[in-house]
Amino acid sequence: MGAGSAAGAALPAEHVRVSRLTRLLESEKLLASVLLVPGLAILLIFIAYPFVMALWYSLTSIRVGDPGQFVGLANFTKAWNDTIFQTAFKNTVFYTFWATIFKLALGMWLALLLNRTFRFKRIIRASMLLPFIVPTVLSAFAWRWMFDPTFSVMNWVLYHSGVITDRLPFLSDGDWAMWCAVLVNTWRGMPFFAITLLAGLQTISPDLHEAAALDGANAWNRFWHVTWPLLLPVTLVVVVFSVIQTFSDFQLIYVLTGGGPANSTHLIATYAYQVGVASGLLGEGAALSLFMFPVLFAVVWIQLRFMKRMEGA
């Protein structure tokens, strides 16, 4: 290699520096750190920093224009005894529970339907994602109009077809409004369930269904003994994902009811926004929103444990 090293020595200094850098990056440890830095920076600036600030704010009496002072857990005790917060917490659990159940059931049904072969399969599968693609604010506005006390198209149809004699209080009654929110959330989130479950269904070998059919299993037994257990890991991931999103949902309620009538449809997120941003009580708002944290943490922890157990089995 005498000729090679002679040629290397003759190269300009710049080239030597470049190859030294390249050689440094050959080290996997160094390269890994270099590649990790941007992601880590984003996490620190946009997630860790706001979270720590929220923790700190929740322990102070900070409000807009006033840095406030350390008050310990006063904000949390206040929230705990706040009847609107109690309603908002119950609403959040109610909203998350029913919306997830409906999304799962309907999404599974849709996924099973779409997993068959039929005409225009691709177009229908793609168009089904529409509710998910439309910005929530826009679709929530559309729904608000459909539920509007005066202009509701549903009331109009039901009234003129003689099904009802009095207009239905879609958004003007607290209980009705919560169910309307569940409906809209289900409509919006179901495509995500359906598409994800469909992807899961397509990984299940058709041979298993044929084997089960030969084993004497009818359609329900094939679903219960083959499809459902094999789809469980995927189902679990979508459910957890949906629970996190629904539990911390903001846009839909904000546009649909704004928390009303009479603060009866607030979720934790919308109420925290109203207190913290709209009323400027930053400390109290931070404390309110932090009530979501232990619940979401528990959900993720349970899911991780479950997944680990299934992998081990």
Partner: protein, 364 residues
């Protein structure tokens, strides 16, 4: 126990592909019937129609005396072993084998008894608590067979069950399947593309191509008396040698001529070949019907050539050479030492020569 009758069976797919064409078969009670052919020949489609997994376009399938065309798979009293085993990945071996019986509402002790019995036959008693992914390929295959036999079905269907196993295991499982069939005495239909499997397992073998049945017969019948050039070439390894020849009649004696090759048509075939005088036909000779010529071989059944490649296999030697413009293989005594490019004289056994029509490929 039951026989399976297939009458004028056809399968056309929506795209217009005609996969199975007018198949007629009578599979006798307790018979091991093998369907063999290259991929796309319709063998698996035929099997799946018997199973009820594929709709029948036209024709009839009977199991016993009953027409099963419109019966769902579960009501046909059949069991099937799939190519990729199709074991339920989330169930244990025991649960996999028990599932069919549970679905049919057998009492618990009966299920337990049958699963243990099948596990014992297959030598998998120690694996009952394991999940399929903790098993080797051969063990999974046994579980798949076990799942079929616990049901005590009237007919077993096998869809290329050994093709995912390595060569050693395949030979071993082949023997086990044969032993199992002799023990259980159940009618079996077995699909494979491997002619060795077909020959070793089948009581009878159906050779298929392009959706048509080419020939049905016992293994040695297919080997010795192929009905057409396709069957002759498909059955046997190394394959039969074919040379295109022209038949000429010189004062009553028929000769088959090709480039540098002149062979007398053997007396037992003269009558049938005479009709083809002056035309092109194909001559077919199996590698073991060729040998190195000695003084006792007649010159009209011998020819000169040069060795191309020698394949010493130990128990035999395969000699590759060219004759009449076509590549040929001869199976010769392993004691003979041959080298490439060496000149040799090869003789054929006139009793074991086949002639095939040039166009239809039918045996003459």
């Amino acid at each position: 126990m039951a026989n399976v009758t297939i009458r004028n069976l056809n399968k056309k797919y929506d795209g217009g592909f005609h996969a199975v064409k007018d198949v007629n078969l009578e599979i006798r009670d307790k018979e091991f019937m093998v369907l063999v052919g290259p991929s796309g020949c319709g063998k698996t489609t035929t099997l799946r129609m018997v199973a009820g997994l594929e709709e029948i376009t036209s024709g009839e399938i009977l199991i016993g005396a009953e027409v099963v065309n419109d019966l769902p798979p579960m009501d046909r009293n059949i069991a099937m072993v799939f190519q990729n085993y199709a074991l339920y990945p989330h169930k244990s071996v025991y649960q996999n084998m028990a599932f069919g019986l549970q679905m049919r509402k057998y009492p618990k002790h009966e299920i337990e008894k049958r699963v243990r019995e099948a596990a014992e036959i297959l030598g998998i008693e120690s694996l009952l608590e394991r999940k399929p992914r903790q098993l080797s390929g051969g063990q999974r295959q046994r579980v798949a067979v076990g799942r079929a036999i616990v049901r005590h079905p009237e007919v077993f269907l096998f869809d290329e069950p050994l093709s995912n196993l390595d060569a050693m295991l395949r030979v071993q499982m082949r023997v086990e399947l044969k032993r199992l069939h002799e023990r259980l005495e159940t009618t079996a239909i077995y699909v494979t593309h491997d002619q060795v499997e077909a020959m070793t397992l089948g009581d009878r073998v159906v050779v298929m191509k392009d959706g048509w049945v080419q020939q049905v017969g016992e293994p040695l019948e297919l080997y010795g008396k192929p009905l057409n050039r396709f069957v002759a070439g498909f059955i046997g390894s190394p394959a039969m040698n074919f040379v295109d020849v022209t038949v000429s009649d010189s004062s009553g004696v028929l000769w088959a001529d090709a480039d540098g090759l002149r062979l007398k048509v053997p007396p037992q075939l003269v009558e049938r070949v005479r009709a083809h005088a002056g035309k092109r036909i194909a001559i077919g000779v199996r590698p073991e019907a060729l040998h190195l010529a000695s003084g006792s071989d007649l010159p009209e059944y011998s020819f000169d050539t040069a060795v191309d490649v020698v394949e010493p296999l130990g128990n035999e030697i395969l000699v590759n050479f060219r004759a009449g413009g076509a590549p040929m293989v001869a199976r010769v005594d392993p004691a003979v030492r041959l080298k490439a490019r060496q000149n040799i004289r090869v003789a054929l056994d006139p009793e074991r020569v086949h002639f095939f029509d040039d166009k239809s490929g039918a045996a003459i």
